[in-house]
Symmetry: C2
Subunit: 219 residues, 2 copies
DNA sequence: CATAGGATAATTGTATCCAAAATTTGCTCT
DNA sequence: AGAGCAAATTTTGGATACAATTATCCTATG
């Protein structure tokens, strides 16, 4: 529970959050231009905070900005997606290994609770944010803030396509199974099994994202 | 040879580059405030591009910005530096392994040439940019743009302290030896040796950076 | 008819100006 | 004299206005 916010919201930061959600929701298709004036008018602000928010989203890998030319939702190439998933396996594998011995009764119950909530969620954005929350709880005990930030950063540019792919019912079962197996492996302290399940989980997600990314938004 | 720049420079982007260099050169000590007005006056521009440049440098991890309070050079905690070096070993180890089989006569000659230039450089910024160039040439054949970008990102917040530590003559010899050994291991295609030398190289650098970071700029 | 050239419009980047927040200064009261 | 509070100054965040660059459309020409 947060008492005093460390970084009191500024127009640009809340705008960035709103735009993040709008992008994940698929408001702009990859390649489509985000017009500063239009966004400014829509949110009732000037173009200055809009520009700062767009720059922020660029640094997160969601947008590509060309000078004097505009910002557009990035569509990673298949090769780049492969690379991102390889990096995720490196970073998340390390986080998982370090978190293994540090989980306790409470953190495991929290994991199970998050997974329950995740399976109850019925909208795409809820799944994505729930999945992020689950993995953050999974890696949290490692106490590696920088690696955790990197985990978020590596997900950001592809979650948009994962959300697209997680339409009605698609692969939700296998997804949930892998999460349950991860919890079990962590509870048992089985590093090998955990690593193996994580790898399988990421491979499956990679395939889904690749399909969604190549299939959508042909501009 | 570049004919037409893909991204024509804008005031904010050249300012960001200038400020990057100024920070690496130690113009501001960690914790010291960077005043927008002062920087704007100094470079003869308004505060708008200054703010955008500062935001960019924040996203690179060089600065920490608090709302209405100002930007200051970040001083990572020892624990954070440890984590950054662990991540570097993960990412650079992967890059090195992937690049190993892809080096050829020309790329090896280029590596040797860069190392020669590096040993001739006589100022701190030259060493740092030379070291970056060397490692980029070392990992380049892996053809992993995203990992290479991550390599730069993981270095950025600590290079400032590496530059500080690389004062007159300090550890330059061991540093050069490790680079030469890396070239030899790559030429021989010896993955184990290359990995081992890289690990040793990063451990040594970590110690230097930790010492420089904790010892300097007590604000 | 396709295309090169140039004027016009649309859009981004930057400067100037105003508002909000924080830091500093100086005063009061104990 | 020192702690606490309030006005003044400083500094940052945002809005408006202007300049620079790019995109569009129209015309003229081979």
């Amino acid at each position: 529970m947060i008492i005093a916010p460390l970084a009191p919201a500024t127009t640009a930061s809340v705008l960035a959050q709103r735009l993040r959600e709008a992008i994940d929701a698929g408001r702009w298709s990859p390649g489509e231009l985000l017009r500063q004036e239009q966004i400014a008018a829509e949110y009732g602000v000037s173009r200055i905070p809009v520009r700062e928010a767009l720059a922020q989203l660029q640094s997160e890998g969601l947008l590509e900005i060309a000078h004097y030319r505009g910002a557009r939702v990035s569509r990673p190439q298949a090769q780049e997606i492969d690379e991102l998933f390889d990096l995720r396996l490196l970073v998340e594998g390390d986080l998982l290994a370090r978190a293994l011995g540090r989980h306790d009764q409470r953190s495991l119950r929290e994991l199970a609770r998050l997974q329950d909530r995740l399976e109850d969620a019925d909208d795409r954005l809820g799944w994505i944010s729930g999945d992020i929350a689950f993995h953050e709880a999974l890696y949290g005990p490692a106490e590696r803030p920088r690696s955790l930030a990197l985990f978020r950063q590596l997900r950001a540019p592809i979650d948009r396509f994962a959300a697209q792919a997680l339409g009605p019912g698609a692969r939700k079962q296998g997804w949930a199974n892998e999460h349950r197996q991860l919890i079990a492996a962590v509870a048992a302290g089985d590093a090998m099994a955990a690593r193996s399940i994580l790898e399988q989980h990421l491979q499956a997600t990679r395939a889904v994202v690749l399909a969604a990314c190549s299939g959508e938004g042909e501009n």
